[in-house]
Symmetry: D2
Subunit: 158 residues, 4 copies
């Protein structure tokens, strides 16, 4: 949790509603964040209460056994959950992830190819938002699934 | 979970005990896995039931708000938990992560600098191993903490 | 996790498939387990990969603030997840819960009245089964939701 | 999460600091909550950032296989985590549990006898508090362990 996670906001995302901000990222009005380039995944769909990323494993994310490191699935699920939550926030409201929990249900290798992770809001509270996401391969086989709890950061009333 | 995650094993890690394999990685007899180069972290200590990584955030792992993406802490904690479990495995026994759960307790930025994540085995079962890890900055402030459940993959008796 | 959780099996449930065992409990051929009487909930539906319980909070399960203790929702979700997993097990195969994770999304009080918890299998592995469950009130409002990881215990080959 | 979980507060616990309230419960100045009688566990120690319960399984909490239901361990760990968090709250500040996650590491039966669960605060944030707890038998064997995230509910400034 951050005490002030949007001190930065280099892209001025907080000037929009959450859904507008996510759509701006989808339409490349805003630069894609560096993590998505580094780990080779990208936002592909966004709606109120829902965000989808696609990605493809590369040789840059392998563990010592030559398998895709669990951190890749963790990151994609964390992104899908966080962005799904972001879509329901009003203008000026930031958020932070409190926790994430993921089950790994199938090994991911370079042969897995294109994957898709869909995150949805489960409980749209004003302060606490819970979400879940599923990561699947191109045939729909479940690779991992998880949940995440987010906290909305409302600006102080003046 | 993988049905046979060590089909690969390019570095022949399964010919050693888990602790020997981890020490070989620590001493660079084996190449460091690509994920650690990509996300800029490295194994720094290993003992029976314990593994420590250090790392430093870079501009390659930022989220849209300019903060280090939660996936970085998730990956470091997943690595520390998995490697701690690995250190207690006999020769020829692989493992797979079943799940990981992480709390984010403080935002990580480029100013955070060097971090350290220590994973330890909590319950050293023959088949199911539970672990926990804490991620801290150079002053000892807690950035994230988590747990992970691993399954040992014993070779079939012939 | 139990090393031999079905040493007991007083109701001979392992002589049936998991779905038959759950249906026998539903039809009261077998006594309801004591936990369900103590915490006032009961099995109401069962299918392959799915189990539903209903329940109603009583004055016996309150916390110091006069609210229903979180343990009640935890127990109902754990039951729904475990029983959903049980329905897909072959005859003679037991199971044990490895972990459960629950989000509490709305306080439960004596005024909440009748609740329903539906558990479903998410990943039906031979050894590792993942599940999820949602607890709702009579109007469908979400009270809690969670996931659980179960391990099937196959008898040793002779 | 409750929108106003301390609407009730029949024992006027919010008039004290959290540590005073927990000590009042320990010293029986306040009635023990009904859940602890129903599930046969009791507060045994409390300090700043720490709460310990003891308990003993009874025939009232068994699952269909004659084993103690997982809900018992879940409830004890949830109590230990919540009460540990409560001890660090100022006067007038309530709290609610956002989520709990528990690993079951050893089956609990009627033969297990007296158990002890110790909860401690891991991250004492002003709004978000993270905690962990371990449940052990009289010989110190680990039965279950878990974590929980709590949110402090500060009264609105007038």
């Amino acid at each position: 949790m951050s005490t002030s996670p949007h001190a930065a906001d280099p892209n001025n995302l907080l000037a929009m509603t959450g859904l507008e901000a996510m759509r701006a990222i989808l339409q490349r009005d805003r630069d894609a964040p560096s993590i998505t380039r580094t780990l080779n995944y990208w936002l592909s769909e966004v709606d109120e209460g829902r965000a989808v990323f696609e990605g493809e494993p590369t040789g840059d994310i392998l563990n010592p056994l030559g398998i895709v490191h669990g951190g890749w699935a963790l990151t994609l699920i964390d992104s899908a959950c966080g962005c799904a939550a972001h879509t329901i926030l009003p203008q000026g409201v930031g958020y932070t992830s409190l926790e994430a929990k993921v089950n790994f249900t199938r090994a991911i290798t370079l042969k897995t190819g294109l994957v898709r992770v869909e995150g949805v809001v489960v409980s749209p509270g004003r302060t606490i938002i819970t979400t879940e996401a599923r990561l699947t391969d191109a045939k729909g086989a479940l690779l991992a699934h998880g949940t995440s709890t987010l906290m909305a950061l409302h600006p102080k009333q003046s």
